[in-house]
């Protein structure tokens, strides 16, 4: 957390010098949800309504057989804002060899061929995953399609979203994204502007303003 705060402080110092800020009409936005929701105590604020909890996981102590979560999957959460794109909203991202599209609302009796035919209209289908429900053997309800180009995927989404396949309406959208709307550097910018409009002062006060929001990042 300290690292985050000081990073914000540096941003303040830097940005205050920057004349471009004068032009922007941006209002300081609420903080993004950076904190992982993985703590067993259901303390995530939400709308303030108490959360119903259930399960052994709340009752037991962390015994030796269960490694604390953070060290398992590596809590690279806060530092790792590896979002691409030039700070705008979330945008689709390219996967290793193509662009992946998710289709939901797929009819349970749809066949791979049906999907292949529907999607091949927009470009060559490099890969198609049509997973089955493990209990019933029917299609689970979603499909993942890979195209080589952005344009092909974009066209498929545009044309097929909301269309009907086998009497069921299918929704088609991107599968992967660059992340939540707040890109790190533009995030600092918003904070700064908020504090600037609130109190037109020098660095000291802006710095103080910024340290408060960073607590919420927990």
């Amino acid at each position: 957390m300290a690292a985050v705060t000081s990073a914000d402080l540096e941003a303040v110092d830097f940005d205050l010098e920057d004349d471009d800020l004068m032009d922007e009409d941006v209002v300081a936005e609420p903080l993004p949800a950076a904190a992982p929701a993985s703590r067993l105590r259901s303390t995530i604020a939400g709308d303030g309504a108490p959360r119903k909890t259930k399960g052994r996981g709340f009752r037991e102590d962390r015994d030796s057989s269960s490694v604390p979560r953070d060290s398992r999957s590596g809590d690279g959460g806060r530092g790792d804002l590896d979002s691409l794109g030039s700070g705008g909203g979330p945008a689709p991202i390219r996967s290793i060899e193509g662009w992946i599209v998710l289709a939901t609302g797929v009819h349970e009796e749809a066949q791979e061929d049906d999907l292949h035919n529907a999607f091949a209209e927009f470009g060559q289908v490099r890969n198609l995953h049509l997973n089955l429900d493990r209990r019933t053997g029917f299609v689970k309800g979603y499909a993942l399609v890979e195209y080589e180009n952005f344009e092909e995927a974009q066209a498929a989404i545009k044309e097929l979203d909301g269309t009907v396949l086998h009497t069921e309406i299918m929704n088609v959208d991107w599968a992967f994204s660059s992340g939540p709307a707040k890109h790190r550097s533009s995030q600092k910018r918003y904070f700064l502007l908020g504090s600037r409009t609130m109190s037109l002062v020098g660095k000291k006060e802006a710095r103080f303003q910024l340290s408060i929001p960073s607590f919420f990042l927990r």
């Binding site: 929701a37 269960s66 992946i100 995953h129 599968a175 992967f176 707040k182």
Partner: protein
């Protein structure tokens, strides 16, 4: 704080969503486990660890779109796992441990049980109905996550 508002890419239509599944054991080859996590902000994290033949941890993470989160929610909703309880499920043991933690709206479940080898283990437990739902839900979630992770990260073999 971690609110469920539209700022999260519009994914949390009816409140917060969080999902984590862990299965693992400790043995000759270290702490071998598989874990994946869908966070409210759309981050999907995957980890697979084993020291078998001196292997190391595999960790992948990627942001998924709100549609993916919605689909995960739907899978969970339709399974009715939120109505179950793990009080009569087998306790984790030497053979292994499974953990399933889900936050959906204002309900937060955190189930822990032993590994399930097959339907035989489900049938012979004290709560076959509930455990069966868990058993199949875990398989469906794994299918979904593995598809996502493999499509995003795995390169295809060279076709000859």
């Amino acid at each position: 704080m971690a609110t469920a508002g539209g700022d999260n890419g519009g994914g949390a239509a009816d409140g917060e969503f969080y999902l984590r599944y862990y299965v693992g054991h400790k043995g000759k080859f270290g702490h071998e486990f598989l874990e994946f996590e869908f966070r409210p902000d759309g981050k999907l994290r995957y980890a697979n660890n084993s020291n078998y033949k001196n292997d190391t941890m595999i960790r992948k993470e990627v942001f998924v779109s709100p549609s993916v989160l919605r689909e995960a929610r739907r899978i969970i909703q339709e399974s009715d796992i939120m109505k179950e309880d793990d009080s009569n499920w087998p306790e984790p043991d030497r053979i292994g441990r499974q953990e399933l933690e889900i936050v959906m709206g204002n309900e937060h479940i955190s189930f822990t049980t032993s590994k399930i080898g097959s339907l035989v283990d489900v049938q012979s437990s004290k709560d076959p109905e509930g455990l069966r739902i868990f058993y199949y839900l875990v398989q469906d979630l794994k299918c979904f996550v593995f598809s996502l992770i493999n499509l995003h990260f795995k390169i295809k073999p060279i076709q000859s």
